[in-house]
Amino acid sequence: MNAWQDLKAVVTEAPVRSSAALLVLLAVLLALPLVLDRYLLSVMILILFFAYVGQAWNIMMGFCGQLSLGHALYVGLGAYAAAALYQHFGVSPWIGLFVAVGVCVLAASVIGWLAFRFGISGTYFALLTIAFAEFTRIGFDHFDWVGGSGGFFLTVVQQDRMDWVNLRGHPVMFYYLALGLAVLGFVVSAWLLRGRSGFYFRAIRDNEEAARAVGVDTFRYKMLAVQVSAALTALAGVFFAFYYNNLFPEQIFHISRSIEFILAPIIGGIGTLFGPILGAAVLTLLSEGLHEALAAAGYEIPGVKQILYGVALALSIMFLPHGIWPAIARRFGFHRTRAEPDGGADGPPADAKAPRPPAGPSQSQSGVPVVSTSSPRGGARG
């Protein structure tokens, strides 16, 4: 009930201006396949895919302050789980995705438990996530049931039919799937921010000691953040497997893949709702644009594009330390009037889109959530 109210409040309490902009954006996105050609459609799918994974990662890092550099692990595990079930046993991805989510939540729980039990955070936690992803990558290189390093392939069928049950067919179907995922990521993020667990997450992010001192079960909520993030990322993996039809451990689990996933939320604005989406759009368009421009200039030496990309990243992080979205939100008045305290030097920037804390008995005067003896429920588990 509480969860439903939170969800409703996300819709009803958003400023009119933001809601209107959001609805227009959604309508445009829904109509886009009517006008886009095959190439542009694939670019849009890429944007939505990266926006979604960025949102999933953002829950863990942006909201709760736990830096993961190994999200390729969850994409890969999710992809392999659903793809293996489909290819070996003919199980529909709609059922396979539950297995994928289960596997990823289990992996996240193991990593989270190991790390948080022993108080590992910051750089050490990030390196632990890299270690697990790389360990799994090499493991899958030798996992012959799913093709080992030679890759795992899904049977490709005629592209005109849209088989929604088995997710085989035309790119337009995958466009709407990716859009659905991005909307899901947005709604879950908004809901988490609005609810009790979102406040706990941000309390942990901004000052873990203080959060523990006021009674937040930091271990439990860090675990929750990691698990929710992994579960969402698993769905991205399922999508990846059925969209691309081929999986190589070298590609899907690789550290460079993990890094690719987190660029969008960092560039767009970490800890914000729109940051990952905006960042994914900017980066994908930049990357594709550079590709096209270099091709047009007849300058297609491998590596040149990545150098320019690297320069753009460095400039962006130097001059927009909090990301693009907070700057835009401030300029166009998309954020609330209530000023959020800044995260300071040690934490990610304060969320420009943070909703007001809900008025209620569980809220202390200072706005810091107070733990009641009854089980606090955000409703996002599972």
Binding site: F118, L263, G303, I317
Partner: protein, 290 residues
């Protein structure tokens, strides 16, 4: 499996491990003082390896002689990198620093790709195939030389930190930044010097490793990961820890290559890393809870 084979493999791993240790030492020194995790560390080493390759191909210079110019140039490079680029990020959150160094790494890797193409390069000196016979052991001459040079470099670095005024000043910054500032040390300059020392170390390690292994532009990220594994196992910020971690990883890589399959060798390293992080996060030689 005959005992000699195992002993030979372990010795080879140990000697290579000392070179790894020198590489990791650079990372550890930088983290211990500047508190920046250098995510471009392996890429810097790949650049040094290519410098040695070029020196050998163009002028026939032995990579062992390339050590001197490479160390000087990389010291300057590290100094400039810290002073110009990284210093404004000292008080930024970790993910910001990570992004900046990642961009630097991306530019380096792809700069190498543009300049040299994707093919593997190496250096074949005329003593490449020589070896020493010590009892049942057959030890490669190159490995012995590389390990000795790596050890000497480490000893030099230890001495600099231990006995010179400038080393003392750097240690003061690491132990008590505020105190160092109060007594009037130029912290920005010392940080840049430290970063320079760290990159000089990894530059020397690159000149040595090019004698033992191939290099491709994409080796950079793999070396970065390797350096991380080593310093975490040894203890981030601990100088003897970096050397010991390097030896441990060198031995475990070669033993895994022998007993399992060569392609699984880094899997064992990652397993070691996970075990250390889970049960002794401060590393084998690190101090608990700073």
């Amino acid at each position: 499996m005959p005992l000699e084979t195992i002993l030979n493999v372990v010795t080879g791993g140990l000697l290579t491990g000392l070179v790894y240790g020198l590489m990791a030492l650079g990372l550890s020194v930088i983290y211990g003082v500047v508190r920046i995790v250098n995510f471009a560390h392996g890429e810097i080493m790949a650049v040094a390896m290519y410098a040695a390759v070029v020196g050998f191909a163009m002028g026939g210079v032995d990579p062992l002689w390339m050590i001197v110019p490479v160390a000087v140039v990389f010291f300057g490079l590290g100094y400039a990198l810290q002073r110009g680029l990284i210093n404004p990020f000292i008080h930024r959150p970790e993910h910001s620093q990570f992004m900046l160094l990642l961009a630097v790494a991306l530019i380096m890797v792809n700069g190498l790709l543009v300049a040299f193409g994707p093919d593997a390069r190496n250096v074949q000196v005329d003593y490449s195939l020589d070896s020493y016979e010590i009892g049942p052991l057959l030890v490669d001459k190159v490995r012995v030389i590389c390990a000795a040079v790596a050890l000497a470099t480490c000893a030099l670095l230890f001495a600099v930190f231990r006995y010179t005024a400038f080393g003392k000043a750097i240690r003061a910054c690491a132990d008590n930044l505020l105190g160092a500032q109060v007594v009037g040390l130029d912290v920005r300059h010392l940080y840049a010097l430290t970063f320079g020392l760290g990159t000089a170390c990894v530059g020397i390690a690159g000149c040595l490793l090019v004698l033992l292994a191939d290099v491709t532009p994409s080796s950079g990220p793999a070396f970065t990961l390797l350096a991380f594994i080593i310093v975490i196992i040894g203890g981030l910020g601990s100088m003897p820890g970096a050397l010991a971690g390097g030896v441990l990883i060198g031995v475990s890589e070669s033993v895994a290559g022998l007993l399992i399959t060569p392609s699984a060798k880094s899997m064992l390293s990652f397993a070691l890393l996970i075990a250390v992080l889970a049960f002794r996060p401060q590393g084998l030689f690190g101090r608990a809870a700073r």
